[in-house]
Amino acid sequence: MIVCKNLTFSYSPTKKFSFPDIQCNDREALLILGQSGTGKTTLLHLLGLLLTPESGELLLNGQSLRSLSATEAAGVRRARQIGIIYQRAHFVRSLSVLDNILLANFLADQKQDKARAILLAEQLGIGEHLAKKPHQLSQGEQQRVSIARALMNNPALILADEPTASLDDVNCQKVVELLKQQSLSIGASLVVVTHDRRLTDAFPKQVRL
């Protein structure tokens, strides 16, 4: 469960953001809608602790996340609790799909669970691509790989930044379904930030920026 209250952030004195209060329970999915420039990505980075808020409260499973700020030492703990899916799927280009998924375990200092990586890939329909390089896959397939990667550490919170922006309608629906289904199965809170109107039907709970 993630809760945030009175979050503010400023890049400069003239460019200030203050965000509405948000709450997303375990096994719940929340859609945050907003046009470009309304601070969607900023909010996502705040929730993902890649940025430190200027003021306000951030609670993950009832625990204040002030301690899990973007500092070095906390990076590993953060990585174990929060899985992030980016707008365009990015990977370590030189590694295979399987290694890219396992990378989540490795960098978070967790045991590398190859069986789980294969299982997730099977469930997400990319089982036959594990030995390929990520850039050999289509956009939709790549986005599914990044979902698998975000799920590897069984995080309490899954954040997705415009996960469907570069996908066609069919892939868009598939990716959203998989996201919801997978975060439900590990009991995580799912927060999706987007301006993609195609997603409004799939998420009953929505917040507008």
Binding site: V76, V92, R93, D99, Q112
Partner: protein
């Protein structure tokens, strides 16, 4: 998966860049390593044969030529000197031993050297089979000679005039093999040793033979009566190797000989130092060139990593957001440089061994010298350190950017 695995994958991803960096390192390291190898082997070969010889006397001419022909058997002799003069030196209280040498003939390119048993003792050569030559026309073969010619004990062979195979053959007088030496790495390996008297006998015979045709091929015997050779004081040798009783001889004798006799005295240590300092200019130039190549290799690693880091900025930010520490990423990038350096080093060492092998083959063909010691040199450990340093430095400079990377901004871009 571990950092090594990721670094290696990154090297493989940039095949051409990595290949170029590795190739440059390989050539730089290979050249220096080859120079070190040659340096050691030439040094060892030259030092081994020079040991215990304080001075060489021979006909006047180039002192370096005298040393090369008398000790190393790789240049033409300067001429002949009267045996009587050499014997006079024997009386000198400063001279401990004196070994006369007489050469001018060969068999299949291997020099036939007339000498005394002292020559064998001096080079500590041991017989592998048979016995040492004892009388005229008996010979003992060096190991390489026996191997190359296939001559066995009891075989006879004809010698040819001059120092290469093309010489005119002395077909009517034959040498006989009485023994074969063990290989001991000295000049003896490539020689056919015989008694001094054999060379005289060979040429007396020839001269009388030629004299009957009223013609002589040898300038040094021109004008001489054919039978005059029988007189002991008219006999000639090519040169003599001399060992002193004390270092004092080194000061007095050479000057005395050069001034008062028809012979010249040459000091091996001085001449070989002169030779090496002449070669040294070339070696220094090559070494400088090799260092420049290694530096360019470093620059190549630097440029390649710098460029790829610009492209991989997002990758780095991604890994940071997944829990990697900056130090870990920095280490991963250093590893890429280190692995390239190690690869270049290993390939360089192999290259230098191939080079040495080729060089050795050529040297063996031309001079019957082999330089086939492929062991690792202590200097090459320093080379390893230098290669790793180049790899680390070249990788560290661009990789420091990892510490300045703005995580959120990089991920938000694009």
């Amino acid at each position: 998966m571990n950092l090594l695995h990721i670094s290696w994958a990154n090297i493989k991803e940039k095949k051409l860049n990595s290949f170029l960096s590795g190739l440059l390192l390989t050539f730089g390291i290979g050249m220096i390593s080859l120079l070190l190898l040659l340096d050691r082997q030439l040094d060892a070969q030259f030092k081994r044969n020079i040991k215990g010889i304080d001075m060489v006397v021979g006909a006047k001419g180039s002192p370096l030529q005298l040393i090369l022909s008398s000790i190393y058997q790789i240049d033409a002799p300067t001429g002949n000197i009267p045996l009587a003069e050499v014997n006079k030196l024997k009386m000198n209280p400063m001279v401990k031993t004196i070994i006369p040498l007489s050469m001018g003939d060969n068999h299949k390119g291997f020099r036939i050297v007339g000498t005394t048993a002292q020559y064998v003792t001096h080079f500590e050569a041991k017989l592998a089979q048979g016995a040492l030559f004892s009388t005229t026309l008996e010979t003992t073969l060096g190991s390489k000679v026996a191997e190359a010619t296939g001559l066995k004990i009891g075989d006879t062979f004809a010698s040819a005039h001059g120092l290469d195979e093309a010489g005119e053959a002395h077909a009517d007088v034959l040498y006989k093999v009485t023994g074969i030496f063990e290989a001991n790495g000295s000049v003896i390996d490539q020689l056919i040793l015989t008694d001094l008297s054999s060379v005289w006998a060979m040429h007396e015979h020839e001269e009388s033979h030629e004299a009957s045709e009223a013609e002589s091929h040898e300038p040094h015997t021109e004008g001489e009566e054919p039978h005059a050779h029988e007189a002991e004081d008219e006999k000639e040798v090519t040169s003599a190797l001399i060992k002193f009783r004390s270092p004092m001889g080194l000061v007095a004798l050479p000057r005395q000989i050069n001034a008062n006799t028809s012979m010249q005295a040459a000091l091996p240590s001085i001449e070989i130092n002169r030779l090496f300092s002449l070669l040294g200019v070339g070696i220094d130039t090559l070494r400088a060139l090799a260092l420049v190549i290694i530096l360019i290799a470093g620059v190549s690693v630097f440029v390649s990593l710098y460029n790829s880091l610009k492209e991989r900025k997002y990758e780095m930010a991604l890994m940071l957001s997944m829990g990697a520490t900056r130090t870990r990423l920095f280490g991963m990038l250093l590893l890429e440089g280190l692995m390239l350096a190690l690869l270049g080093y290993a390939a360089g060492l192999m290259l230098s061994r191939v080079g040495l092998w080729l060089f050795s083959r050529a040297a063996e063909q031309d001079f019957h010298y082999s330089l086939a010691d492929f062991g690792l040199l202590s200097g090459e450990l320093y080379l390893l350190a230098a290669a790793l340093l180049v790899g680390v430095m070249a990788a560290a400079l661009p990789s420091l950017g990892v510490y300045r990377l703005n995580l959120s901004r990089t991920l938000a871009e694009d």
